[in-house]
Symmetry: C2
Subunit: 357 residues, 2 copies
């Protein structure tokens, strides 16, 4: 079934239908364009998220721990994931939107050309029919004049009062009019033949060919819609393996998180290397103030020191070996420490002790 034969009289509907088809294709293109924008926006938001959560310069020290390293690695993967949505948008742009734009332009031009052709054919047949009508009227007029000339001759021939010359004039006139009528009839016949030939060609060849090509154009459009729709799904699916790898990357990053390793790092970072203070010695004044360890029943402690004061000053020396920076940090930490109310109590106890010691 072809538009050329079945829809020979549906020029306007075909013009309308093919325009609707182009509108649909453009609308589909706009849909993909809007989808692209959403993918780009999504990717942009993911990238901004990653940027917002990048470790700050001052936090670099923390990024030796496995949790922080994993978080940083995960941010990289989310960034790559964002990139894959940009790939979707770029491929939709190059493989679908651009191709749709080309196709719409082609189809519009082709449709316009075909409609112009068919308008030309309609004008041709209409002109021919007008010529036919003119030649038929000429024939009608010549026929009437020939009839009148015959009538005049017959009347003249019957009128015995008229001269032979007059009768001969009417016969001549009748012959001329008859001749003219014959010529007009032939011209009319010629025009009729031309018109019928052209009309037959118009309805059987020219217009069917235009409509056949319009149908082909519409089928081309529809085939391409199928292609674009399937391809846009493929574009989306094609990034799956890489998105999967990004997710594998996040799982790998997570598996690098090691709580034992991290708490050992804390030891390495903060360990002073000092031993906890030993027992206070017994300050036996009866032996001239010589400090002796307090030997208690069952206690194996043999620590000897030069007295409580000496012990205190030793722990001061310990503090003195710390770097200035470390001391500064400790001050900072004490500040945090002191924000706790209970800690205040503890701290004041400490101060009392050091002032009384």
């Amino acid at each position: 079934m072809s538009w050329g034969t079945e829809l020979w009289d549906q020029y306007d509907n075909l013009s309308f239908h093919t325009q609707k088809g182009i509108d649909f294709l453009e609308r589909y293109g706009h849909f993909i364009r809007d989808r692209c924008l959403i993918e780009m926006e999504y990717a942009g938001k993911l990238r901004r998220l990653v940027k917002n959560y990048q470790p700050k310069k001052k936090e670099e020290e923390e990024y030796q721990y496995s949790t922080c390293k994993a978080f940083k690695a995960m941010l990289c993967e989310v960034n790559d994931l964002a990139g894959q949505h940009e790939v979707i948008a770029e491929n939709l742009q190059s493989d679908v939107i651009r191709e749709i734009n080309y196709l719409v332009k082609d189809i519009k031009e082709e449709r316009k050309k075909l409609l112009q052709d068919s308008a030309k054919y309609v004008a041709m047949i209409n002109n021919q029919v007008a010529s036919l009508e003119r030649s038929r009227k000429n024939y009608e007029k010549a026929f009437k004049e020939a009839e009148r000339a015959l009538d005049n001759f017959q009347r003249a021939d019957a009128d015995l009062n008229l001269s032979r010359a007059e009768v001969e004039k009417q016969r001549m006139n009748m012959a001329i009019k008859n001749q003219h009528c014959e010529e007009s009839k032939n011209e009319y016949a010629n025009q009729l033949q031309k018109t019928n030939e052209l009309q037959s060609q118009h309805y059987k060849a020219l217009m069917p060919e235009v409509f056949r090509q319009l149908q082909e154009l519409d089928e081309k459009r529809i085939r391409n819609v199928r292609h674009f729709m399937a391809h846009s799904a493929d574009v989306e699916r094609n990034v799956f393996p890489i998105i999967n790898k990004c997710l594998d990357g996040i799982i790998n990053a997570a598996n690098q998180v090691n709580e034992k390793q991290d708490t050992i790092l804390v030891i390495e970072r903060y360990k002073s290397g000092f031993e906890p203070p030993g027992d206070f010695p017994f300050d036996d004044l009866s032996r001239g103030g010589e400090s002796t360890p307090l030997v208690l029943p069952g206690s194996g402690n043999t620590y000897v020191s030069s007295g409580v004061g000496a012990h205190r000053s030793e722990s001061m020396t310990v503090k003195g070996t710390m770097s200035a920076g470390k001391l500064k940090k400790r001050v900072g930490l004490f500040a945090i420490f002191s924000s706790n109310k209970l800690m205040d109590v503890c701290s004041s106890v400490k101060n009392n002790l050091s002032s009384s010691g």
Copy 2:
């Protein structure tokens, strides 16, 4: 290696470090929360896109064509795809964000309790050391008084001018002071024993236990970061099969697009069922205006009609059989038609023809 033994003197750093750990966990929670928002926004945008491109009521007639049907089916799939991103957001919310919030609350409380315990232990040892210092000073004072009493007694005993009663008084005083010094010494020894016992317990049991529990708490936090990170990737991956099905759905929809079927639908929709006009007949006036087909050499056409005018009126009847609605539509289509300049020429030819016929 344990924080309890290795970091016995790093209370402040451990307080600082565990706070940093909680900050990290909260920050990770905020990251997932922000990611959720992006997923929800993406899903919302896809849903709005689908809504914007839903066929309008007035376009329903077009939706009999396979391209339009496929487009509608594809919109459904994109809507389902949006739903899967909502599933990601919902599962991140319930499985990760909520769990992180619970964990942060637990760890904060546990850490606070441990720091309070350790502050209590520090206060205890400091109080004990202060008591020790007081008892040592009492002992020192009593020792000096005993020394002075001994001195006084010896001086009195050597002075032969003094009465025995006076000497006896000094001996008594010396004995009392000695007794008091012995008592103070014992008290000092007791306090020293208590202090050393408490200090040993403090550094070997109480504080190590607090630090060990802080380490356990930190390890629990780190283990959970691993778990949350891996789980959030799984949440994302879990929707893949359904997203894949959505894409399959789009490909299936595309494959339903059938150009041949659609152009046949156009024929069914617009076909008038009329035959193209036949030849114009020859209006032979010499046979009294009887219309005869123009018999041309080699033409098999035997069409007979009652003249050009009759033929025209027949084609009018043909038009008369069309429904009013269809005629109205055709008027509308002619309006489109006449917007084309070339069509104007063609149309005016047509009008001339019908006025002259």
